[in-house]
Amino acid sequence: MSAETFRIGFVPLVDAALPILAHELGFAAAEGVRIELVRDVTWATVRDRLLYGHTDAAHLVAPLAIATALGRDRPAVALTVPFVLGLNGNAITFSTALGEACGLGESLGDPVVLGAALKEVAAQRLAAGRPLRFGVVHRYSSHNYMLRYWLAGVGIRPDADVAITVTSPTFAADALAAGEVDGICVGEPWNAIAVDRGVGRIALATAQIWRRGVEKVLALRSDTAAERPEALTALLRALHAAAEYFVRPDTAQDSAALLARPEYCDAPVEAILRAITDRIRVTPGSAPIAYPDFMFQYREAANFPWRSQAAWLYAQMVRWDGLRFSAADAATAQSVFRPDLYRAALAGSGAPLPNASSKLEGALDAPIGAGSTQGRLLLGQDRFFDGRAFDPDDIAGYLAQLP
């Protein structure tokens, strides 16, 4: 394998867009790197191919990168995340029956109002001995943590009041159709497909739970990142160029057509286009609703790997795996995210480079200018639905005040 090639593993999802576009549209070639894409339908296999050298990098759910570095479920392997492939872009889809039981109308729900309605339904189902079941794409996924954050925040105890199970994104609509689950929290286009098939309705976008939630990342084995710094720099510049292109309104149709191809998402162009253009069809046949921050691939330095994002994910891992907070593990988790590599790769480009490597998460009510060493950086509203903020320097304190 030549030094300039990166084999990149991915799961067929809209947010695998950046490596796919970088490969297909020549952004990688322009930087002197070659990308080979390796498609798999489970995160376990994307991870295994990365760890055992079938791939050099991977499109990965962010918490799985941290779980792998911490040695959850298997011996620890040091991973490096130099680039975030996107924020949010997921949704919670209810079965038609659950949507009706919760009184959902023709629009997205309100997290608090819907939460109260869901709490009643969950209690009834629990009392009837048939607790509600939700499917998420992986135990270590932002989907799992977003869903749990919301449920716990509205007084529904995950694992006690409702069951949470795992379902592969490509099969999530099937699980909903078969009645195996009452709701799913997955990435696009799989919510759109569930709606278009008439088996569910979108209840919430995960951006309504956390307005700027970290989603997929580009992960490499740390030894690969250390051995190939120049090639990695070229790859990051290519991904950045792809991101800039991807968010241009005039490119959406072409990007959707590309991502829809059988070797990528193998899904209808229209469903993908809706996700890219931040439009959500909530119920079958209805007109899509515009939700401006549905998926976030470029603006506000969205690709910058904030160490505070890794810290938040670690906090959720402690919370839901029943771990004891460990300062050493928190440091390991945060060290997976490498803002230094991002800055080094994009120095001299047009990308705004934040001064800080960590920030208070969920503290902004309105857009604010932030310190940058290069370019002008504006950070937007990034609230959690319950108004709580996360201070990465006080994870233990944060955990203590969570429900």
Partner: protein
């Protein structure tokens, strides 16, 4: 030692079972890919689980194993750190193994080695089968092209074949490709004078 086999290919599952049985490992459970996965695995209480790498249920299975941490004998992915080659060979062959806590490594290694060999043998068989199928298809196309040439140009069979072969050599293509082109054009334009 009870071994559960989870495979999207029932043929490969049978090939692996046979191999394990021949090696004296007879306590086998082949999980029905159409049935509920977790319930079947839970009911069979295996000590070793073999699953194909491309199985769409791997994330679900790992979630189930992660929850087994609370049990007396949790199940985890088998990663032999003293012999990374074995784990890597398994991934290369397309199989992944999970074992209960406390199972001695020397008991797992032969199972995994056997599974790796059987997975490799299955891939070889598939490749050979695909090649045989494509050779047969080529043969049929060439026969049809020859028949077209014989009819259209009034040639005998050796002459028709020589014409095909000569054209393939000149145009640096496979005989089957030239034959394919003739069959296609006959299908589209054969009725024209």
């Amino acid at each position: 030692m009870r071994i559960a086999i989870i495979d999207t290919s029932t043929t490969r599952a049978a090939i692996i079972s046979e191999g394990l049985r021949d090696a004296g490992l007879v306590d086998l459970v082949v999980i029905d890919p159409a049935g509920p996965l977790v319930a079947q695995v839970e009911a069979s209480a295996p000590e070793v689980v073999l699953i194909n790498l491309e199985n769409p249920s791997r994330d679900l299975l790992e979630d189930f194993f992660a929850m087994s941490r609370a049990l007396a004998r949790p199940i985890a992915m088998f990663v032999d750190q003293s012999d990374a080659q074995t784990t890597m060979a398994a991934v290369d062959a397309g199989v992944s193994a999970y074992v209960v806590d406390g199972l001695a490594k020397q008991r797992i290694k032969p199972v995994l080695d056997l599974a790796i060999r059987r997975f490799q043998a299955f891939s070889r068989l598939q490749t050979e089968l695909a090649e045989a199928k494509s050779a047969l298809a080529d043969r049929q196309t060439i026969d049809r092209a020859k028949a077209i040439l014989m009819k259209r140009r009034g040639l005998d069979e050796p002459a028709a074949y020589a014409l095909l072969r000569g054209h393939a050599m000149k145009s640096n293509r496979r005989i089957a490709e030239v034959a394919e082109a003739i069959v296609t054009s006959e299908a589209l334009m054969g009725d024209l004078p």
